[in-house]
Symmetry: C2
Subunit: 226 residues, 2 copies
Amino acid sequence: MNREHATAQSARSSFGGGFAVDVRIVLLTVHDGSLSVAALPDGDGWQLPRGVPLASMPLDSAARLLLAETTGLHEDYLEQLYTLHVNDGDDWIVLISYLALVASGSGLPVTEAVWLAASSTGFGDVDRMVLDYAIVRLQAKLGYTTVAFHLMPEQFTLTELQDVYETALSMQLDKRNFRRRIIASGMLEQLDEKRRDGSHRPARLYRFRAGHDPQAYLTPQWADGA
Amino acid sequence: MNREHATAQSARSSFGGGFAVDVRIVLLTVHDGSLSVAALPDGDGWQLPRGVPLASMPLDSAARLLLAETTGLHEDYLEQLYTLHVNDGDDWIVLISYLALVASGSGLPVTEAVWLAASSTGFGDVDRMVLDYAIVRLQAKLGYTTVAFHLMPEQFTLTELQDVYETALSMQLDKRNFRRRIIASGMLEQLDEKRRDGSHRPARLYRFRAGHDPQAYLTPQWADGA
DNA sequence: CCAAAAGTGTTCTCGATACACCCATGT
DNA sequence: ACATGGGTGTATCGAGAACACTTTTGG
């Protein structure tokens, strides 16, 4: 690599004085069979987990920290979505939005935080836009990545995996085709155990094969922290 | 839409005091048959067009303005890439990167600005990362969008279009398959004129059909300015 | 008539879709 | 024995890749 022209660069570029910066996180999961988002009460409505990032750490780390503070959860997946400049009253705020995922069934340790159906009303306009965009991104990524991994517990059956896909995509999928594709992709590892949970044939358990999360090409390799 | 809980939101979130914010723009084009990037001299190396955005406008507009100031060009396409928090000497800077495109053959009115081959050395580490990522994004988008449009002049031949694709992708394409796909996509409009430019059969001219730039789903619809 | 780029069709492979029945278990 | 969800195979279609010759012009 080349040396960094840090001095010349900063001399010319930095110091715009002070921008207000705000991080907002769309934390999604599948909860009770519907795509759900973590929300905090805000007056008579709801808001997304948010906060001002600490100044001296990568943004991703700051987002993780804020998410832990507001919801008590450590996400399984975090991806930057988009940066906006919004007019909030008199001031303009630089707003950096993130998509985070946790495994289906995760509780919310922080008492005020709740899971809402992703289609719920009661969010502010900006939060609503960010939330809608997060859903679009998640759906797109389910198609060509293994993000679904981060919505699943350690072990699961193929039917459970299909349910998560169907919920997140709000679309029915063919069982045989789904299984064929998933197996063919090589991202699953078959376990020996089976799950017995009713008066019917037990289901074989699977887990995701290590090193099978290409993380997609939408997020740069470095992804902050440089 | 729901009312915005602006007061409650800002009370809780804003005021992190002052973050230094910097915008960097990767302006790409095809120049002399190679993928090229607009660069400005920086000591004995080069830097990307950059600057501090004006505080009271959407980031996209600020980026456009900075690009015009530094290169004298008005881009045909602008897309946000990624936001980083980088450690520049003692200070941390919030760095918002953009990808911009202009038509092949555009000159650079500002005297210091030059077109460099996109693979050139002499950029700082951060600029290099941002540049590499911009190229990956452009290549990915050529596959499933009509961004190539913004790299072409008003009218062009199929061979010229193919040349741009081949340059940007650094990959050879089959002439017949390329034409079939491009025509089948319906994004081109055949013109009556032909271009005579040598001792050989003249080529039919095309232009992009209006309203055929789905702008991809990677960029949110609102894309700033809310 | 020769050089140079424009233009044009067919075959093959592979991934995606549609679709219906038998299997293992608990009660 | 029956109800319940688990599990499997085959035929069809369309998109993408490989591949070579004829056409039109200027010199």
